[in-house]
């Protein structure tokens, strides 16, 4: 596996948003994503977890070039997407697709289901009209929808059905990588797992790699091979999913794990929990030192002065926290 370049290799990616103003004092630059690294290998799934405002969605948007990256590289099969223009970029886009959070707004209300699914084929001029129709029907089958739905409008479908249409659209170009931004959080509980199961099936049948973005660790743990936890634009912990979710090291990851309620009142009410107080740090107002210091239950003096580096503990797991830093000097 290591001989092949990873499907996705993000290095040192930064995204900033500038607030413009006539008054110099009101101008500011927020580091929404601050030099992060991510790697996804073929057929693997990376879970990207964090609260709203952590920069996880912006990271995904920067990867597909919906948000402008300030610096860094996003290599897809070894080719840097950020350096491509025009036709080259258009061709590269075939290899990476995205599924959005809200299936009610990600499908154009004026198009039929078949038109939505076939649009990527039409944009890339793949196949004649009739063969596109066949592809649409095949895709519908793959995502478990009846082919009779091809000519319905999105408004006639339920949320779960729409999300499946969005997934069919994302996979019809046979991409190498699909970014899923909160793909199930707008859906009913009983359909969430069905969508996740479908993603798992697509991964095994097509060898597609996924980046699964969520604010809820429970939603990614079943599918993810690796997990990266983001806070205020930086990655605070990453590693094999099973390790990270079972034995979280960073106090923020511990809080994320603790925040997921356990569906048994007796267990749930007896749990010892790290309930985070306060609000996520504002990327426009990043503190010196550790980004998590204002909410960390184990904050130390060093956290207010020095930013902890993301350090590998030797088992493939990296944590950015002074609690785990080797003592220097």
């Amino acid at each position: 596996m290591s001989t092949q370049p990873p499907v996705l290799e993000v290095r040192d990616l930064s995204v900033t948003f500038a607030r413009r103003s006539l008054l110099p004092s009101r101008r500011q630059v927020s580091h929404v994503v601050d030099s992060i690294d991510l790697t996804v290998h073929k057929g693997r799934t990376l879970g990207l977890v964090g609260e709203s405002g952590s920069g996880k969605s912006t990271t995904a948007k920067a990867i597909v070039r919906l948000a402008p990256a300030r610096s860094g590289s996003v290599k897809l099969n070894g080719v840097d997407l950020l350096s491509l223009r025009g036709e080259e970029l258009k061709q590269a886009r075939r290899r990476v697709q995205m599924v959005f959070q809200d299936p009610y707004s990600s499908l154009d209300p004026t198009m039929t289901v078949a038109e939505c699914i076939a649009e990527p084929l039409a944009v890339h001029r793949i196949g004649a009209r009739a063969s596109r129709r066949d592809t649409v029907l095949e895709m519908l089958e793959q995502v478990g929808l009846p082919t009779s739905m091809a000519d319905l409008m999105p408004s006639q479908l339920s949320g779960g059905q729409r999300q499946r249409v969005a997934i069919a659209r994302a996979i019809c170009l046979h991409p190498d990588l699909v970014l899923c931004d909160e793909p199930v959080s707008a859906l009913d509980v009983s359909t969430q797992n069905r969508i996740l199961q479908m993603l798992a099936d697509l991964r095994s049948t097509h060898g597609i790699s996924f980046v699964l973005i969520s604010h809820n660790l429970a939603a990614v743990q079943q599918l993810a091979d690796e997990v990266a936890v983001m806070y205020c634009g930086t990655i605070v912990e990453c590693g094999p999913a099973r390790n990270v979710t079972a034995l979280p090291k960073h106090p923020y990851t511990q809080a994320l794990v603790a925040a997921v309620p356990y569906p048994d009142p007796e267990v749930q009410r007896k749990r010892e929990r790290v309930v985070l107080s306060g609000e996520p740090a504002n990327p426009a107002n990043r503190p010196t030192g550790c980004v998590f210091q204002s909410r960390c239950p184990q904050v130390m003096p060093v956290c207010q002065t020095t930013t902890p580096a993301l350090t590998d503990d030797g088992s493939g797991r990296s944590v950015a926290c002074h609690l785990y830093q080797p003592i220097v000097g």
């Binding site: 009913d188 079943q222 925040a259």
Partner: protein, 336 residues
């Protein structure tokens, strides 16, 4: 314990095109003083319509209560005048809405919106209302409450907006708070804070809570009793522990199995992807027998014979299933 609210044989119809179709069928339940009652269901279950009926906030042209009563103490909320209802709604029944950021008027400061309630329902003067508002914001954990009173809603995060709305709900010391999916739009980390805040404040103010949600994890965290709805009907109703440990309706059991949870210590594999095949039937397409029948793993011919009644079980809970005594969910769990 005294009952604060009793929904009695409620039937609600909604207009679909030219036809009126039932969306809530024969729903009865009571909320007792001081308890947190969970009203659980997915979209299309009728839980939102039920809670809007209690609040008298149904869009009258499209949804109407056909029969039934909603007793708040000894007054039937479906039969009293609009004026009286508005008075009850502001003062004795409060709402914590689903979309915190959309539920505050962006054109007015948080202080304006809070003092308006206090001045209208509590007949307080301007200065006194402001003082109370600061106290309430402080109580729900908003730091530097006095200085935030003059901020506009967009200066608050989603979690902070929800705290403001909880403060507004508490403003007139209501007897019952209806919380409509209060944490669905929030991060899981903020969800935990908001839920414990609701639980704590309800206890302090001796208010009962009707918590509407689709998430059994939320229910496990705060509720005392649960009513589960499916396709406009109650399918199961029980105390909190029994419903989690021994669900008596297949839908409840599947809903529990589908609830996302973290791997526990000692578990080797993450929980399997449990889900319910098919989708919630739309109004007008309900099965004649058991409405969950078409999606149920335990479905038999006799399930379709006639409407299934909500039966009282020896443990004191209710379930709408003809096979409830013979079901063994352990088997489906291992199969899934």
């Amino acid at each position: 314990m005294t009952e604060v609210l009793r929904v009695d044989r409620l039937h609600v119809d909604a207009r679909v095109g030219q036809k009126w179709l039932p969306v809530v069928t024969d729903v009865s339940f009571a909320v007792r003083a001081g308890e947190i009652m969970g009203l659980v269901g997915e979209s299309g279950s009728g839980k939102t319509v039920t809670c809007l009926s209690v609040l008298g906030l149904l869009p009258r042209t499209d949804v109407r209560v056909r029969t039934g009563a909603i007793w708040f103490h000894d007054r039937d909320l479906t039969a009293i005048s609009r004026r009286d209802l508005e008075d009850v709604r502001g003062r004795s029944i409060a709402l914590i809405p689903q979309e915190p950021s959309a539920s505050l008027n962006p054109a007015f400061t948080v202080g304006d919106q809070m003092t308006e309630i206090l001045r209208r329902h509590e007949k307080l003067g301007r200065a006194e209302a402001r003082r109370r508002a600061v106290g309430l914001l402080d109580e729900v954990g908003i730091p530097a409450a006095a200085s935030r009173l003059d901020d506009y809603p967009h200066h608050f995060s989603g979690g902070m907006c929800q705290r403001v709305l909880i403060a507004m709900a508490l403003a007139c010391n209501p007897e019952i708070i209806i919380a409509d999916e209060p944490t669905t739009a929030l991060d899981v980390t903020v969800q935990a804070q908001i839920l414990s805040l609701i639980r704590e404040k309800a206890a302090q103010h001796h208010a009962a809570v009707l918590l509407v949600t689709h998430d059994m994890g939320v229910v496990a965290e705060v509720c005392d009793r649960v009513v589960v709805m499916y396709a406009g009907q109650i399918v199961e109703s029980a105390d909190i522990v029994p419903i989690f440990h021994r669900p008596r309706h297949p839908y409840t059991e599947r809903l529990l199995a589908a609830t996302p949870r973290m791997v526990q210590h000692g578990e080797i594999d993450p929980p399997a992807f449990a889900y319910i095949p098919g989708s919630m039937p739309r109004p007008g397409t309900y099965a004649t027998g058991c409405r969950f029948g078409p999606r149920c793993a335990f479905h038999e011919e006799r399930c379709d014979a006639a409407q299934v009644p909500l039966r009282s079980l020896p443990e004191g809970n209710l379930a709408r299933c003809v096979r409830t005594d013979e079901l063994d969910f352990a088997e489906t769990r291992s199969r899934a």
